[in-house]
Symmetry: C2
Subunit: 323 residues, 2 copies
């Protein structure tokens, strides 16, 4: 892989007015206000998996991080660390995925960097994407969930655990019947729509590493309310359930890359749910629980068989290199 | 290394109002205008070297990339990829370096991410920093050097090649007499001062990978002028010279991390030079050459012995993992 070939690849797929300045810093316009700025490194193993690859993931993940803060994602950076010997075709597939996903999301990859390390000093390819977006003042409360209050409803935009299972399945080369695909998707359009149409959105968070359980626990931590949700209302696909039973995973803790929880005022919950269900990435949305005065700082699940279970933060190791 | 320990380390050293929101996206204020946005991954080997470490480098490099575009650097992101088994003390030294260098530069590290990969799947630590800054409209021409014209003077802020030699020396465990230290430094204060006091600044570029030669060649490429400079006016320390003679390197192509070339109007050159020489990172500044009508698209060096030499782009491999 020569520097020149790699550069040509990036120009081919990432072409836009800002990137093509080809200077070290991209110069992009923004309006006055709050800027949202985020970064994530992607080290997923394997780099290709059902439903996506490391490139798609690197765009979706950062777009979603910006979106859940209330911001409109605008610009991404892309930093590649390549292991010597990575086939150029693989890199091209990844770069093409990034380009396609950026187009879908309506963001521009405006600056980038590539480093190459010797064989054995990295694992094929690692990608860092940082992202910049703008945030309307009136959404400033959203990222910390300052307006969450008892009575608020908890909505999820679809079934959980698919990204985790898709990656683990590909890594371990398990023969999963009806192979599960990653739910990897850029949710910014869905999220923008909800924000624009509704004043009652209190909080949005993407369910990545640590899954639904970890996010719910984080929401209530050191707050004066709890969350109660119902096991039967959380959508989990049959294939994901069987895989989890087989290997001892709990879908509540599995990673997702196209799933969010939204906490909304009780009065607007039904309307927001309907709007979400009309969107491609929200068809299977459902209300799974509510914010309650009881269980202060805790998350409690009503189980299928009628009991209750206290939901803990993930204990022990998280699945490594899932994103 | 547990997730908790690592998180505590970052909170300890990177504490600031924006980072401590601890949400996925940092929300930071900016004024309307052009935003400069850049990214770089750092994979330097070894991670500690005379004059710096990978953390200091990751801050300086990105601060400098923003600064040379004309922007005032404001916010950095930091994405870490850690190899399992990296001693926590090493990580702490690196994080502390980043914190200290960010303070010196007056920038804030506002968002971050850490991924851990198995032993043998990375090399100790890789760091990506992306950076955001704001750019006054009147400096928009600088990053592409649109106002460069024949007669302009070429200034360098000090001696070249020290970063490259410091890293290579540390990597190969060479016994370099009077061990050379990396010139790694955040040049934003120097650069801001020059911009603020002078209208005649046409172009600034940092001399990183590829060194002085590569930057000069890039400047003239597909332009209607050339650059002529004098070998004897380019500052090179004796230790760097001997090391280069010994190993067959050319200092013109060696990496620097605290060096810039500035192209300025002939009328302001002396004044800018004097201002630079008063600054800690510009004491050894000198005028090394000028932009000329001859040699269109080419860089020519007048050698010590009175001849001229055409300066090429770097041929063959660049030194790997120098930054």
């Amino acid at each position: 892989m020569s520097d020149r070939l790699i550069r040509e690849l990036f120009v081919k797929y990432f072409h836009n007015a800002y990137l093509s300045q080809m200077t070290d810093s991209a110069l992009v316009p923004v309006n006055s206000g709050k800027l949202a700025f985020t970064t994530d490194s992607y080290v997923v193993d394997p780099i290709f998996f059902p439903g996506g690859d490391i490139g798609k993931l690197a765009v979706c993940g950062t777009v979603n991080d910006l979106s859940v803060s209330g911001a409109q994602p605008l610009y991404l950076s892309a930093g590649f660390i390549l292991e010597e010997g990575l086939p150029l075709e693989d890199l091209e597939m990844i770069v093409r995925s990034m380009s396609e996903e950026a187009q879908k999301a309506g963001v521009q990859i405006v600056t980038g960097d590539t480093k190459i390390v010797n064989k054995g000093k990295a694992d094929k390819v690692f990608i860092n994407t940082a992202g910049v977006g703008v945030l309307p003042e009136k959404r400033l409360h959203v990222s910390e969930g300052r307006h969450i209050q008892p009575g608020d409803q908890v909505i999820i935009n679809g079934s959980i655990g698919e990204h985790g299972i898709a990656v683990m399945g590909a890594r371990e080369k398990l023969n999963i019947k009806n192979s599960v695909e990653s739910d990897c998707a850029s949710l910014n359009h869905l999220i923008q729509e909800i924000f624009e149409k509704n004043e009652g959105v209190r909080f949005i968070r993407d369910l990545t590493r640590g899954g639904l359980a970890s996010v719910l626990v984080e929401i209530v931590e050191s707050r004066t309310f709890g969350i109660r949700f119902n096991e039967t209302t959380v959508p989990v696909r049959e294939e994901v359930k069987s895989f989890c039973e087989m290997l001892g995973f709990d879908p509540l803790y599995l990673a997702n890359e196209g799933k969010i929880v939204i906490i909304v005022s009780a009065g607007q919950a039904d309307q927001i749910l309907k709007e979400m269900q009309r969107h491609a990435f929200g068809i299977n949305s459902s209300i799974i629980g509510e914010v309650v005065n009881e269980y202060q700082g805790k998350v409690v699940m009503e189980t299928e068989i009628g009991g209750t279970r206290l939901i803990d933060k993930i204990t022990g190791e998280q699945l490594p290199r899932i994103c």
